[in-house]
């Protein structure tokens, strides 16, 4: 579908980029006004991987001069364990508990007039612990006799928890269709594989910082967070007040959080409670780097796969069993595996997913959620299967990938309209051509080039991922200012993806304004904007984009109706081009919006709320990744020589932002595959590398020098956000499996445990 677009699809500069690049941008974590009465919060942490607090005495700490408040589990609102939650079930515990679930779990918090005094006060808190057995492995946590970590359920399985009284409606998954057992029995080839993915600190760089204060019965909290409105709701419930007594402010710019603040957590509860106890004085809670790493992780995962195919290349059955490591307080009961099989036609399927709790650091939302883990195992299984029946990996994928005309009435995926027939063909062809697949794929486990210990191979994988969640409350406002410019008010956090610039472009396109005539209120203040869902689930561009567009069209219609009266023509005969109202059939008859609104002494407000937003079916973002690697079989080093990520996110909104998102996802997937891992001491259960030297995030100098993105934007058959699908999370999903498949083709052995470090490569090669 072609359409004429004036603003959308261009690469426009990000409003805040200038200040960021020059180092002038103030972040909340940088700011501290010493002249104010701001108190500093510090937390006491559990030295044990698993313990109960038998006794806690905070009196000496409270008596220390300069200490304004001390809180422990005794101060937690009673409602919290069962009611304190985000709109999306991202529950992470009551803030402070008498049950310590990992080394570094929070025991108590202090607010004092200085950091020094706060730290001194922590030393004065007396705690008597009862040490308990601990478990780190997600599979062991489900076995009989494993320590019980989730106190509100019988075992560490969400499955049992669901049946427990007063339970959350966290979904547990056992699902399937067809006749898997029969299909496996009758298939030509059946393969099994166990894959693991390590837990990872996701690399949110700006220290999490919250400043909370009370004025009478009103709580204000300013913080770097992805869900201002959801935490407004959860804080209101937790503090026992109404939602209009909570004001949440998100600064105009925050550091990327990649999903980690996608939930209610102790992060905002602790300063809110401390401030209330301290008589309302502002309390600043800023995490250190180690505290950031102890706050939340991407989950570890163990997967058992069984897949069957026939010699003609037909995928006939899949069985998957997942164990998701939620750490101490995490909540995921599902690896989002259905997104995985949504990109293959699987006639017979059985899947079971165990969301377990362990004594590792809590896990939570993160870019791509469980799809990264599922893709790492699943896309290697696909290669193993195709290799066993002797079919090229691209051909096997093309033969079995989802095609819309074949999906009708079938159970695959979230939505039968989600993937178009040619999506994967186009991406596989484009990526194969760019990487030189025809010359470089010379068979499974066979290098295309060898030089002494150095061997090279190529590999590929595909992915599909959601574009937003189906149903969310959402709203936006577009106000035409008295000078004819437009102001967009929408309540989503801009967490570094430049969504505010994108929303301005969408509004400008819909209004018919010049891009420079539209601005979005950059800071989010829940007292000054209407409800919006969190910035997450890849829904900002698509869902808020659609909402802003509708609000802008509402404002445009009002403007045209006013202009129709002034210009004495019907509103239907008018349009707005470059901020000027023009009569379509008489281009000489014009009036600039500025003049129109200024003369008429009017206000014009366009709105859109949930009832106005006819969300179309979810169209999945799709992708394919190709990697070309060199492995040194003497040292186990893996070098990515070239990597190509093809991504279809529909119509690009701001092209520069799209490129940034896709490249950022590639960077993240690369790091997960080759470098990053959170490691735990088996004896004490303590994390060993809670710092940025030992937890190895790749820097710009580490990522492959040759890396390309190919953007495909076909099938723009919905117009709700000018045909945009999503791009936030999908690009992180497929690089890891592609690199792993390429490594296998280079050296003939497969690595089943993500984090393809030299020790694993050398071990797989039999050199240890």
């Amino acid at each position: 579908m072609t359409r004429e677009l004036n603003v959308i699809g261009k690469s426009l500069p990000i409003r805040t980029a200038d200040a960021k690049v020059k180092g002038q941008q103030a972040y909340i974590s940088d700011t501290y006004d010493k002249t104010s009465n701001t108190l500093i919060a510090k937390t006491l942490k559990s030295p044990y991987a698993h313990a109960k607090i038998k006794r806690i005495d905070t009196s000496a700490a409270e008596a220390l001069p300069g200490v304004a408040a001390v809180i422990s589990y005794k101060d937690m609102p009673q409602l919290m364990p069962n009611r304190y939650r985000c709109a999306i079930d991202n529950f992470e515990g009551p803030g402070l508990s008498d049950h310590q679930k990992f080394v570094g779990d929070l025991v108590a918090a202090v607010a004092a007039t200085s950091e020094e005094i706060a730290l001194k006060a922590l030393d004065l808190i007396e705690v008597e612990y009862e040490e308990l057995d601990f478990v780190l492995d997600e599979k062991e946590a489900t076995e009989p006799g494993a320590p019980v970590i989730r106190e509100w359920g019988a075992t560490n399985n969400w499955h049992d928890y669901e049946k427990a009284p007063g339970a959350f409606d966290v979904f547990v998954h056992e699902e399937g269709w067809g006749e898997p057992e029969q299909a496996f029995a009758g298939a030509d080839v059946v393969l099994e594989g166990k894959f693991t993915k390590q837990p990872i600190w996701i690399g949110d760089l700006e220290p999490l910082t919250a400043i909370a204060w009370w004025q009478g019965d009103k709580l204000t909290i300013k913080l770097n967070h992805q869900c201002p409105h959801e935490i407004k709701e959860s804080l209101a419930i937790g503090m026992g007040i109404k939602m209009n007594q909570v004001r949440v402010i998100i600064p105009e710019v925050i550091g990327g959080t990649f999903g980690i603040t996608n939930s209610a957590s102790r992060f905002e509860v602790i300063p809110s409670l401390l401030s209330r106890k301290a008589g309302g004085y502002p309390v600043k809670y800023k995490m250190t780097r180690e505290e950031m790493i102890l706050h939340k992780h991407r989950d570890g995962n163990t997967q058992f796969w069984k897949m069957a195919a026939n010699y003609d290349g037909t995928l006939v059955a899949v069985d998957e069993e997942h164990y998701i490591n939620n750490g101490g307080w995490g909540f995921k009961g599902h690896p989002y595996g259905h997104w995985y099989y949504s990109y293959y036609q699987v006639p017979n399927l059985h899947g079971i997913y165990f969301g377990t709790n362990t004594n590792k650091v809590s896990t939570g939302c993160h870019r791509g959620v469980g799809a990264l883990a599922t893709n790492f195992g699943g896309e290697q299984m696909i290669d193993m299967l195709a290799g066993t029946i002797g079919m090229d990996p691209i051909e096997f994928r093309k033969k079995n990938c989802t095609r819309v005309q074949e999906m009708e009435g079938m159970p695959y995926g979230l939505n039968p309209n989600g993937i178009w027939s040619e999506d994967f063909d186009r991406m596989l062809d484009a990526g194969a051509e760019r990487i030189g697949w025809a010359e470089k794929f010379v068979g499974y486990g066979k290098p295309y080039y060898e030089d002494g210990p150095r061997k090279r191979g190529v590999g590929c994988s595909i992915m599909a991922y959601l574009s937003g969640v189906p149903t969310v409350p959402i709203s936006a406002i577009v106000e035409i200012e008295r000078d004819g410019t437009a102001k967009v008010i929408e309540g989503q956090t801009d967490l570094g993806t430049s969504s505010k610039t994108t929303m301005a472009m969408i509004a400008a396109e819909a209004l018919g304004f010049k891009a420079e005539d539209v601005r979005v209120c950059q800071e989010v203040d829940t007292d000054g904007c209407s409800w919006a869902p969190m910035t997450g689930s890849s829904m900002t561009g698509q869902k808020m984009g659609a909402t802003v567009k509708l609000a802008a069209l509402d404002a445009r219609n009002k403007l045209l109706n006013i202009a129709a009266g002034v210009m004495e023509v019907s509103a239907e005969d008018l349009e707005i081009v470059d901020s000027i109202v023009v009569e379509k059939n008489n281009p000489a008859n014009t009036i600039p919006v500025h003049d129109l609104i200024h003369q008429q002494l009017l206000t014009v407000i366009g709105t859109a709320d949930y009832h106005h937003v006819p969300f179309p079916p979810l169209h999945l973002q799709t992708g394919a990744c190709f990697a070309d690697v060199e492995v040194n079989t003497d040292t186990g080093e893996v070098k990515v020589l070239d990597i190509v990520l093809c991504h279809d996110s529909g119509q690009p909104l701001n092209k520069a932002v799209l490129e940034n998102q896709v490249f950022g996802g590639l960077h993240m997937g690369f790091g997960h595959c080759l470098m990053e891992s959170s490691l735990y001491d088996p004896i004490t259960g303590r994390i060993l590398n809670p710092n940025m030297i030992d937890h190895k995030l790749p820097t710009t100098l580490d990522i492959p020098h040759k890396a390309d993105n190919i953007y495909l934007s076909e099938n723009l058959d919905t117009d709700h956000a000018f045909g945009a699908k999503s791009c936030g999370e999908g690009p992180a999903i497929s690089p890891s499996a592609s690199i792993a498949n390429a490594v296998h083709n280079a050296i003939g052995v497969r690595i089943f445990d993500e984090g393809l470090s030299p020790d694993k490569i050398l071990k797989a090669l039999g050199k240890v």
């Binding site: 030295p47 080394v103 180690e290 002494g452 210990p453 040194n632 003497d634 040292t635 186990g636 080093e637 080759l674 470098m675 490691l679 735990y680 001491d681 088996p682 004896i683 004490t684 303590r686 060993l688 590398n689 809670p690 710092n691 030297i693 030992d694 190895k696 790749p698 820097t699 710009t700 100098l701 580490d702 470090s757 030299p758 020790d759 050398l762 071990k763 050199k767 240890v768």
Partner: protein
């Protein structure tokens, strides 16, 4: 961060006075020291209360050739050494090693003196707030013995400790037959690194490195440095290796090979040196040297550090071939 006393002497004499009590510590670039202080790594009885800066002491930063030797001031920044044409040409292993330390920012701050005096590396030892009271800090056990020892020593443990010397420049200095000059004496690099269960070097409490000296290369002498780390941009080595080889008429007449991050001290692979002298430097003899170098390794039987043996062997080979 804990508060401490900061002294800024302007001469070596003043420095010696300032270092008079045993609770003081020298700071140059501070890239290693400040991490230890901020993370509150040491127990209170081992904590220093005074930091003595080298910043105002004149003439500690220079690179010159004099009296048949390269002389490098102890406070010379690593980036200056890495980018110095003379060092790159004649003392190649040192330039390459200095250029691979940490990141560009840290090389701009860190000094050669500090790099060879840095505290041994172990994530148990460095656990924040002295979480692990390990043997190195006066405790009873080395947690790495039974814990996660993937980056630990493969040549055994001095005083029961498996922490490794992580310096990149140290093996280069050993291979290049360097001497370490202090305010008191001149020490061969071979003897300078002498981990005793607490300290990484032989330095006395009031002793400070002032200069590095390397004899000018003999005719036919070449050196090289190779490093393997997970991250290229900023990382400590899993293993590194420096070699210095003299070849006359196609035959190896002298060789010094030094591995690091494999033991408490830089590990001079003398059996590898012996294996190649008198031979032609080629793939085969380099591989033989690699095998000889790891003959004496003792990876932990049920540990995770066994793979370092294969890497050490491969790096000896790589660094020798780079001297061709």
């Amino acid at each position: 961060m804990r508060s401490f006393k900061y002294i800024n002497p302007s001469s070596i004499q003043e420095l010696e006075t300032a270092l008079g009590n045993g609770k003081s510590q020298v700071i140059a670039g501070g890239t290693d020291l400040l991490g230890l202080v901020k993370d509150n790594v040491l127990p209170s009885d081992l904590q220093f209360d005074t930091i003595v800066s080298l910043k105002n002491i004149p003439d500690l930063s220079y690179i010159k050739e004099e009296d048949g030797a390269l002389k490098v001031g102890a406070a010379t920044k690593l980036s200056e050494i890495a980018n110095h044409d003379l060092v790159k040409e004649k003392y190649t292993a040192l330039a390459e090693a200095a250029g691979k330390v940490a990141s560009p920012h840290l090389r701009n701050m860190g000094t050669i003196g500090g790099n060879i005096c840095q505290v041994n590396r172990c994530w148990y030892f460095r656990g924040i707030d002295n979480y692990f009271d390990c043997i190195r800090k006066g405790g009873n056990i080395c947690y790495a013995m039974t814990g996660d020892n993937r980056f630990h020593s493969i040549y055994g443990a001095t005083s029961g400790c498996l922490a490794v010397n992580p310096s990149d420049t140290a093996p280069a200095l050993v291979a290049l037959s360097a001497s370490i000059v202090t305010n008191k004496r001149t020490i061969p690099a071979d003897d300078f690194f002498a981990y005793n269960g607490v300290k990484s070097t032989i330095l006395d409490d009031n002793e400070v490195v002032t200069e590095i000296q390397i004899p000018s290369p003999a005719i036919g002498e070449k050196s090289s440095f190779v490093k393997l780390a997970i991250r290229k941009s900023i990382d400590f080595p899993i293993v590194n290796c420096a070699s210095c080889v003299t070849i006359a008429d196609g035959i190896i007449t002298a060789a010094r090979i030094c591995l690091n991050a494999v033991f408490n001290n830089p590990y001079r692979a003398t059996s590898a040196e012996d294996a190649i002298i008198g031979n032609t430097l080629d793939d085969s003899i380099a591989a033989t040297a690699g095998e000889a170098a790891v003959e004496n390794t003792v990876p932990l039987p049920n540990g995770k550090n066994g793979y370092k043996k294969a890497i050490a062997s491969a790096l000896v080979k790589q660094s020798l071939l780079a001297c061709k």
